[in-house]
Structures are given as structure tokens and as C-alpha cells.
Point group: C2
Chain length 236, copies 2
């Protein structure tokens, strides 16, 4: 018995959930689509995978074409394959996510005609998104929350030098709850991966706060030991 | 500008990494394929997603058809989309995994003609597998290792009543290293989710060990608090 692969009338796509943190708010990247029948729809940056590119390459290309951003460290987090998730046919989409520092990023500017504009939007008041993009966002956000517990991701969202208040407001934004200031500081400092700098916040008229840096070497050490039975526990 | 989805000459598939634990050994489920050009190849249970089924449904159907197993709690863990991963064309595969107790499972018996047989194989001495299935297995195994640290998965692999020696040998098999017996027991018992039973191991001629059960209520409580800053730490 010899079998040939069937030819399917279906496509793969990529959708990107790109998280950024700015002025105490957690945001994601959205685009306004430009082509019929989706003109004016708000959506996650996403498009179709070409026949001759890997899905990882496609994710990079698509994000770049729709937003002008590139060289992000994107990771896939889930594949969405419900039969009717796309009105035009069978589209199975691989969702990727990344975390970036919004400050210091270049201006957003779509290269392709499929997006009219790209912009940051706070995760707290997201509008209705195209297709199942609200669900894709939620799945990505839950993943981010879980990862915050056992991976050094907070520091990908913060500027290189940050105050403990900034760090706490990031945790509060991701976990969506207030944390006790004293406990938070005590716990965070106890791990030993925050390096106190000889510098203070600038541009603040009084009570400038101490700046901290993330000690990558110490951090890696903790995470190398993640599987170690003797490990002291989760990061937070 | 109106766009139509292109028609691609490509397919989606599912591949399954099913872990089981038996007699101190961690195993996965393999099939021997039956059709040309793959006759006799050893592979993960996997096949093509139909046009009118979701990927979750496809995973259940495919595993059942190739092995006779069903009603497993499968979860997708990664999608593999390199351009040349399949010799017959573009195939993007969504990989699923599950953990089961081998004892108590029915006999393995392929329903479809695409598999000649299905069998359990120790993960330690895996033969060469078809396509990129060795890589898919490795990715799944790493995922299992990481999850063992912060999710109650050990108990899905053990019989309902187990000895601490069995629990330790499972951790050792997954982490692939010897653990100190005293430390392991102390730490495991300290969490409070192991319930000591008034029963001992049967069929052992002397020094029968105490049996334990997993206290699901306590366990859930710990994992509900996973995101809690006051949380005491990882499970292991």
C-alpha cells in the first residue's frame, strides 16, 4: 500500500502577542487591518506562512512586515486549530509571543499594505479583536503570568536600570493585583539577583529612588538549578 | 483591495508523545508503520488532520486509530514547522503529549492499517525514529521535566496507591539522576499532599512498604496559590 499526502485547501498562519511595559501599564501590539473584507478590524499582528519558510522565520517576517519591529526573541506558545476559526477557510494558526521594552524601540511602521497602522494598547481595556484573537491574547497572557513565576522575564520588559517601584508595578500589572510593598521588596532582594547601583532615578524632583540592575550571572545560576531537588523555590 | 486565502499544497498533522511509567522505567508509545514508503519505520503515533476536525479532535482520533487508546488527557506542547521536515511535502505538525498509568490500560491494538503495531518503549534506549520524531520526543521530554517541578503530574503516572520508593524512582527516571532518599522523603512529605494509608504493599515477602495516596484537595490548593507572592515555593 502506498500513500500520497492529500492536497488540502488550507493554510497555516502566525499570530503574534507582543507584550510591552510603559508608564506602569502592560500593553500589547495591535494592528488595524487594511484589506477587504477586514478593513478597519483590530487584530493581533498575524498573517499567512509561505510555502518555503519555517514557522519561526515566518513569525519574524510577518511581525516585521506588519509593525516594522524585528529581532525580537519570539517563542511560540500555542496553536489554534478550531475548524471555523477563520471565515475564509481552514486556517490553523501558530501563536508566538515576545516581551520587549517599549522605550527604546523604534517607531512602529507597517511595511506591508495589509496593515494600516500598528500601535500599543493597554491590556486592561482591549477592544474586540478580529477572529479568535481575543482568545489567543488571553492564552498568551495566562502563559505570561505563569512564566513570571519561574523565569526571568520581568527584566525583559523593564529598562536596564529600574527602581523597585517599577519592578513591583510590573508584577502588579501582570498579576493584576496589588502586592504588599514591604513583602515584595524583601522577597525580591532576598534572591540576590538584583544589583543595587550607585545611582538614583533622574528627573524626579525629590526622594529619587535607588536604581537596580538585574545580575544575569546570578539569575542564570538560579535557573540552572531549577530542576534541582535542593532548589530553594520559585522566584516569586 | 480584496484578498483571497491562497490554496496551499500542504497539510497539518498531529504527533503524540505518550509517557507511561512501569516497573521503575519511563516509557513512550511507539508504532511500527505499515505503509510504503515508510513500511517498518518506527515512529511516534501521528497522522494527518482532516479538513473538518479541530486539531484537538484530530489528536484523539489519531491516537485511537493507531494505538487503540482513548480518553487520554492530551495537551499540545509544540508545533514543528521546518520546511523540509517531511520528505513528501510541507507538513506542519502539532505535537501533543499525555501521561498515563501503563498498568490498567487496555492492550494496545491499532485500528487503522497505517500502523502494524503499537508498543511501549523505554525512553532511555530509544531507536532512531522517523522524520524529526526524535526531536519531537526530546522537546516533549524536556517539557515533562520542567512540568514535574511545578505541576502535579507525577501522580498521573503512578498507580493510585504507591510507595515512596515508587515516587522517588519516577522522579529519578524523569530527571535522569539519583536523588538522596532521606532528602527526597523529607521534602515530599513536608508539602502535606501525600496521604499516608493504613495499608502496606502487597505481594512483597518482607519489609512491605507503606502505601500513600495523593491528596487532590490539598494539591489543588497549593496550585491555586501558584501565582501568590506569599507562596512558599515550587513543589520540588
Amino acid at each position: 500500500m502506498e500513500v500520497k499526502l492529500p492536497t488540502f485547501n488550507s493554510v497555516f498562519s502566525i499570530d503574534c502577542v507582543i507584550f510591552g511595559f510603559e508608564a506602569g501599564e502592560l500593553k500589547i501590539l495591535l494592528i488595524e487591518r487594511n484589506e477587504e473584507p477586514y478593513k478597519d478590524w483590530l487584530a493581533l499582528p498575524g498573517y499567512i506562512v509561505e510555502q518555503d519558510e519555517s514557522i519561526d522565520d515566518a513569525a519574524e517576517r510577518i511581525l516585521y512586515e506588519l509593525t516594522g519591529l524585528r529581532d525580537l526573541h519570539m517563542q511560540q506558545f500555542h496553536t489554534f486549530g478550531e475548524v471555523n476559526r477563520h471565515p475564509q477557510g481552514r486556517v490553523i494558526t501558530v501563536a508566538y509571543y515576545a516581551l520587549i521594552r517599549i522605550n527604546g524601540q523604534k517607531e512602529l511602521r507597517p511595511i506591508t499594505q495589509y496593515a494600516r497602522k500598528a500601535f500599543w494598547h493597554p491590556v486592561n481595556e482591549l477592544p474586540k479583536l478580529a477572529f479568535d484573537h481575543s482568545e489567543i491574547f488571553k492564552t498568551g497572557f495566562n502563559k505570561l503570568r505563569r512564566r513570571l513565576n519561574y523565569q526571568p522575564i520581568a527584566f525583559e520588559l523593564l529598562p536596564e536600570k529600574f527602581t523597585l517601584t517599577q519592578l513591583q508595578s510590573l508584577y502588579e500589572a501582570v498579576l493584576n493585583k496589588k502586592l504588599d510593598k514591604r513583602n515584595f521588596r524583601k522577597k525580591m532582594l532576598s534572591y540576590g539577583f538584583l544589583k543595587e547601583l550607585d545611582e538614583k532615578q533622574k528627573g524626579v524632583s525629590y526622594r529619587a529612588a535607588k536604581l537596580y540592575k538585574f545580575d544575569r550571572r546570578k539569575y542564570s545560576k538560579i535557573f540552572q538549578n531549577e530542576l534541582n531537588l535542593e532548589n530553594k523555590g520559585k522566584v516569586i
